[in-house]
């Protein structure tokens, strides 16, 4: 994964090469990226320290007041905590599941193509729509509770999404269902690079299956780890559609996330300054965590290569 290795890019041409393309040719794509990504972010950065309501012509600088509000208000404080918790559990669980699926389906099982498609399918479905299906399953009068009653586990019956103690875990279950297929595809692509000869050679040298997995497969999967971890982390932090479909952020604030609060504070409550401050927090989290992952995992990739 050449996320951080600029050297690879430069190899494409040398100075004075007639193949050099003037950088102005990249201008349209660059202009779009700057207009949609970078310019608004700079402005948003400023809004985060103001009390702008979205309508009045001027916004007043109020310093760090928005951030104090975030930590003081139960909705936003809960959103920050939930986002961290969901992301942490989700990233670990989904990557373990994805890696297990990939290893299992990399062998020449007859039905492997069908199974791969089947596991990948949840990812392509509209998160909002599949979220509603899950809400039906976990509803108090829904499929799961009815099933539990039939098999005699009445004491397990509960309002999965309406109980603050179960709501986050139920959401994580849905997320794992949705994204392990994607993680699987990342790891499968990585496993293509693991040659059978290497495995056989190690086996002849007397390495156990676990040793071979640990010493051959894992290092060669380094690029896949990078992509999968960074992608699932960003997905976890930005969690929005699924929350809206499954719980709407409730009960009370038990399943609010930073993204749902950005939307609610800005576009429902008209508090654009506070919304920007929340968005800044979300951005900061993602940038810090993703860059750390890229640097640390990039170093591991280099060590494995």
């Amino acid at each position: 994964m050449p996320f951080l290795s600029g050297r690879k890019l430069r190899r494409g041409g040398t100075r004075g090469n007639p193949l050099r393309v003037p950088w102005i040719v990249a201008f349209p794509s660059l202009a779009f990226t700057i207009a949609i990504h970078f310019l608004p972010v700079v402005v948003g950065l400023w809004y985060a320290f103001t009390d702008w309501d979205g309508l009045s012509p001027n916004a007043n600088w109020i310093g760090l007041a928005n951030f104090r509000t975030i930590f003081a208000h139960p909705a936003t404080r809960s959103a920050l905590w939930n986002t961290l918790l969901i992301t942490g559990v989700f990233v670990v669980a989904v990557n373990v599941a994805g890696l297990a699926l990939a290893v299992a389906l990399n062998r020449s099982v007859k039905s492997r193509h069908v199974l791969r498609s089947l596991f990948f399918l949840p990812f392509v479905l509209m998160p909002l729509a599949s979220g509603y299906i899950w809400r039906y399953i976990f509803d108090y009068t829904g499929v799961l509770n009815r099933f539990l009653q039939v098999v005699g586990l009445e004491e397990w019956v509960r309002p999965w999404f309406a109980d603050p103690s179960t709501v986050l875990w139920t959401i994580v279950v849905v997320l794992i269902w949705q994204y392990s297929g994607l993680a699987m595809v990342f790891y499968l692509a990585g496993l293509q690079g693991v040659s059978d000869e290497l495995w056989e050679a190690a086996a002849i040298d007397g390495a156990s299956t676990w040793m071979r997995f640990r010493r051959i497969t894992v290092p060669l999967l380094a690029p896949a780890f990078t992509v999968s971890l960074v992608f699932t982390t960003i997905t976890g932090f930005r969690l929005f559609d699924q929350i809206i479909a499954l719980t709407g952020g409730g009960p009370v604030y038990a399943s609010e996330t930073l993204a749902t609060q950005v939307w609610k504070q800005s576009f429902v409550n008209g508090n654009f300054g506070l919304g920007s401050a929340l968005a800044l927090m979300l951005t900061g989290l993602i940038v810090v965590v993703a860059v750390t992952q890229l640097v640390v995992l990039g170093r591991r990739e280099a060590a494995a290569a």
């Binding site: 190899r11 299906i133 654009f272």
Partner: protein, 194 residues
């Protein structure tokens, strides 16, 4: 469409210009992928409202092209780097202009990537809920996720009706998936081989 054309053009330039600048610009695009849009969304909303683009299909398209540009540049860049340079050399030696070289030689050679980029980004856009919710909610221009959302709001707990809406939104994707699953899976896996 816009993403395919401009994205491939941008990536080609970056991969071939071979200067220090291109490395920096490439990093800019990578940052664009990582950075979430939430922070920029409010100024964007204000700007688009000012330009009268909120609630219009045009505005939404512009927004999406910009939003997924870094991702497409990233996809293309990894493929352009793997292309043999000899074809371009030959074309240039034969007197083809820069523009002709791109249209006649480079663009066709990137065919597998066009498929992946179009399929992957098309799918993400189809399912996208956050952006349309903000920029199209309450207007006459609706996307499917918005429709489903409004529908559920109106008929809460009437599960048979909700499932009808959910089915409508899922069936096209299912059909599409059966048809294009190879390209889709390759597309998502594509980021790794770079």
């Amino acid at each position: 469409m816009g993403v395919v054309t401009l994205g491939s053009l941008g990536a080609w330039t970056l991969a071939r210009s071979g200067s220090r600048l291109s490395t920096g610009l490439y990093m800019l695009f990578v940052i664009g992928i990582i950075m979430p849009l939430e922070l920029g969304i409010i100024p964007l909303y204000a700007a688009m409202r000012h330009l009268g683009l909120v609630g219009t299909a045009h505005g939404m398209i512009l927004l999406n092209v910009g939003h997924y540009m870094p991702l497409s540049v990233f996809f293309y860049a990894s493929f352009v780097r793997a292309l043999p340079k000899e074809y371009e050399e030959a074309a240039r030696v034969d007197g083809a202009s820069l523009f002709r070289t791109f249209v006649r030689v480079v663009f066709p050679m990137l065919r597998p990537v066009h498929g992946s980029v179009a399929v992957v980004i098309g799918l993400i856009t189809w399912n996208e809920f956050f952006l349309p919710l903000i920029f199209l909610a309450g207007s006459d221009t609706q996307t499917l996720p918005l429709g489903v959302y409004a529908f559920v709001g109106e008929f809460s707990a009437q599960w048979t009706l909700i499932f009808a809406a959910v089915t409508i939104s899922i069936v096209p994707v299912l059909a599409f998936f059966l048809f294009a699953q190879r390209q889709l899976i390759h597309g998502f896996a594509g980021g790794i081989r770079g």
